[in-house]
Symmetry: D2
Subunit: 342 residues, 4 copies
């Protein structure tokens, strides 16, 4: 049984990691830290964990954390980079679910996250934890940057097209919609049910922090910069991301076959039959990305529909997938459940 530490367990990615770990046959959470809630039983804050998780939140303690095989950071941006060097030095593997190690360029990081990076020397070593792109490197990694939710949905949707050089990489459009759990479990007027229920809006159209991350991913796929317009929107629901992607076809190809072949061996990516429209609920609670590709009216604009659960394949589930790879376990371990529908 691998010993798992969790730094910052009071948010939605925290409770979701604990839910998944509670059902994982070979990994066990042994310490969960929270400065603000130290002493409180985890199951008091998250009643779904009653009977499954007996831990209490504790103050972060380096000795306890270095006794773990792997530590997850489910903290606000800027926290993991403070503690990670010591953990790595102690031989502990680290998966950061925040953004600290996602961008390779510390200048870009500073520009978008508004603070200086505390350990830029680790940015090169950190592996971007999208197994469908970087599986081999993740297996060897000490430090994994777990991808953002939007970047996961968008990158998996564009990936086959860009790898195949099939579309104009200068005019990509990602119109993405997220449930409100993506904003986290923090008191904020904008996330109140009475504010975002029964309503819909775009936000951060001028520029969202996931934009440079997506651009970095897509550029890696083709070896040069891409032109991308990314507009996120807030859905009046809890879980789920739907990315609607638009790209200009540059030459004829069987795109349905392309998607099916590219993801044939990927357990966590499901390409739907031609003509389908994935629903976010079809992945509720599970570590899966479901994709469909359309070519409306046989024109030159391709439309890719990509859905994930932002808290699972977009956060905690993908983190467990990365953990499995880093610990030499079966990648699917603990992640084979069925989505909750309806």
């Amino acid at each position: 049984m691998f010993k798992i530490g969790l730094v910052g367990g009071t948010g939605y990615t925290g409770v979701e990691l604990l839910r998944l770990l509670a059902m994982h046959p070979q990994a066990e959470p042994v310490v969960i830290t929270s400065r603000g809630e130290a002493g409180m039983a985890v199951a008091e804050m998250f009643p779904n964990l009653r009977g499954f998780v007996d831990l209490r939140f504790s103050e972060p303690d380096l000795d306890q954390l270095t006794a773990c095989d792997l530590v997850f950071f489910a903290t606000p941006n800027g926290t993991a980079m403070q503690m990670t060097p010591e953990l790595l030095a102690a031989g502990v593997r680290v998966v950061d679910l925040a953004a600290d190690f996602r961008l390779k360029d510390p200048q870009v990081w500073q520009q978008w996250y508004g603070m200086e990076h505390a350990c830029p020397e680790l940015l090169e070593e950190a592996v971007y934890g999208l197994p469908e792109m970087n599986r081999a490197a993740i297996r060897q990694a000490r430090l994994v940057a777990n991808p953002g939710c939007y970047p996961t949905a968008v990158t998996l949707g564009f990936l086959p097209l860009l790898e195949a050089g099939l579309v104009d990489s200068a005019s990509l459009i990602a119109d993405a919609k997220s449930g409100v759990s993506g904003a986290g479990r923090k008191a904020s007027v904008g996330s109140l049910l009475a504010e975002c229920g029964e309503s819909f809006k775009a936000y951060a159209a001028p520029g969202h922090r996931h934009l440079p991350e997506i651009r970095q991913n897509l550029a890696q796929l083709i070896g040069s910069p891409v032109g991308l317009t990314f507009v996120p929107h807030l859905l009046p629901m809890i879980r789920g991301i739907h990315a609607t992607l638009y790209a200009r076809l540059q030459r004829e190809a069987d795109v349905q076959q392309l998607f099916e072949q590219r993801y044939a061996g990927e357990y966590f990516v499901d390409v739907l039959p031609a003509g389908a429209h994935p629903e976010t609920r079809s992945v509720r609670g599970v570590n899966q990305c479901r994709l469909a590709v359309h070519r409306p009216q046989q024109g030159d604009t391709l439309v890719v529909l990509s859905v994930i659960d932002n808290l699972v394949k977009g956060a905690a589930g993908q983190a467990i997938q990365n953990m499995n790879l880093m610990l030499g376990l079966d990648e699917k371990l603990g992640l084979e459940s069925v989505a909750l529908l309806p």
Copy 2:
């Protein structure tokens, strides 16, 4: 007091027309037909109308309808075209809230609506009831085709850009999201709360009936065909449409100023300040379109955000606006209420 008839009053556009007419100072519903519900008190089906509407549904009766000044059709597609010629012959003005008279080309209509048009000779005369495009013609019209909900939101969003010749008309993209009331008040598994609540999906990506209508509008604005990709999505909420529009800028311009000037005299179109993101709830229950325009990262892709209430500016409210114009009344009469928020 003008006498108003309503053919087909059991759907959401029906109850919304009645709500608005109940508060209109110069128009009064005198007959509401429904074959299926003849005899039932309207307020029994729609309890919000108790105390405001005393009518009962009745079998359609030509004498009663020809005694009206104006008749609204809130019927399924294909019904209005059967009865309209007789009403016009009797001197009654007609506003069709369905699609029967929206497309100018009967071949295109037949292709998308799957039936032969019953009175193609009226298609040319019928005025497309988007006052912000066709106000003068609506004032003179005997027959108005009330626009679809998506076409209203999309057309008003693209209109200033296309009129000004500012963007590439060959690569327009409209990513549109609608509340489920757009599917109407009919028993259907796909519209159950348990099916579409807490979920989100695209639908009809290969081609939606509003596509030819939008194309016709946009082509009229520039005098030649446009290239448009239109993907509608279903929101887990009742009312509201949000269209996110993407267009390639072809030359420099102050687009904020362009939008403000174009709509300066339009009471029902509100251009938000630069940087804003309209919410659908800001127009809940009112006959308004709120717009914002963005140019992310100062690139060459413009993003227009357009929101309406699909049942008001997207249906019944616009129908009243058209009625006001056709009857020589103040265009705003009965339509000056404040949106319900939260």
Copy 3:
């Protein structure tokens, strides 16, 4: 045109008062105070008010407020009691939408609200603003305590039964359910969409602040204390209260007729036909209480179903109703709109 002041306009009762005042023909808001948001345009915070309310939030200023005919307090509990004596002294009428003047006994108030009352001498003078109980007194009042949302729904439901002495007043049960806007527009984890969406729970079962207020109302109806169990619940929706009331019948009577007769002259209370079940949406946005009364299986337990919009008849609408009475206007002025359905 009467001049109206509004102290504390940044919450949901604030925006709702402004929505209703914007459509009121004889009252006009001239000052809206907010210490936290002074300087901000009201329509920037509440986009539904764009084009209808041009005011900005300002620091509370006694001179401005004493120039008003009437001042509404839409502030947290404990604020109105600080400023009310000065306003009354200046001849301004006051309607407090918070709880400061609802309870007659300052000891009870202190017990439930956790602070000493600042002007207990006004408690006797203050009129409890439920017009269906106290209309004549409200017409003469300088100071009106606008009822709580739960107390409005519960009191109107029990009123005919208690006035008629028909039920056992020692074993009343009120099982009440409220939309989340009742918790106000303040950042709080418990009111996040991701916390209270798609879920339901009771809260404050041991004792809620509205319990003594309801008890006081019901005791006033029969002239002696009542035994009441009151359990509030949180609904995963924005607006609406549904109170399900249980009472033991003590003698035979035609309760349907009793309800209809008691409320025959009350414009804002609508008794549904026998057998009906009122929906909260049937009063969405309007100043109405809809009631139905059942006697299941002809047993001795009566069930009363009572719905209101917590922000209208449960707060801002009732405040306008009280204002109309206090200013000698038609009680219905500005309050005759139709509920938004669907």
Copy 4:
């Protein structure tokens, strides 16, 4: 591996049974019937099952069903009673998720379900499948009547009080609220998101089919008839039942301790600490009932709060629990997952 048949798999209890069976280590669905959808892949209708269930719906075939170890009926009321005698004769165990075998008295059944019972001789043998009441009998049963959703939540909440003779059994009140999935996956105007979203109402106050079932359960507990008022309500959400139960205390007792002791050995019933309020989301997707008991203001009215997922402990999960008992398996097998929160 036990072979499981499922008659009628196109509803919500059907998909939920399949979800749970897909994760069950010792039971496997081998046939799923649907007259209407014969030939369609199950995973096409329920996309969450893609990759987990490869079956297609088939016409009901007695040979296929009699080859099963156990058959579930997830059919409309009145279907199971037609086929059950033959299946039992062939040695197949049967669990009916509909109401056919829940009531012991065929006259009462006929009165509430509007048809004559097809095999009244089986009503005595059929075991009511609430393991917390009837575990031993279920283990021996050939035929189990799976309880209704409301009866499960209400019975488990009243059970300790009635068994202990602590409350007045003549004046019980159950105010119950259910998510809309309880109405099933059938096209019906009343269950549309646009009809029941953002609204709340009671229904069937004069008498609901679950009333005689609950009465039968409660009467069994005390050996004599009870007086019960039961009012169901419709929640604007998908899953979850919350029953708020009221009972008059007849003598002093430590009710918290009573509940904890009664359910100490029950894995699927969780008594919360004193003062708690269970949320329906805390049992979303899992086979659990969470309970809390209150005595407001130390009066003589007890309040029990009981939550379940109507599709799991209220239907499919309890059916699997019964299956485990009937097949001699560990009662918890396949049912130990963690609720999905948020």
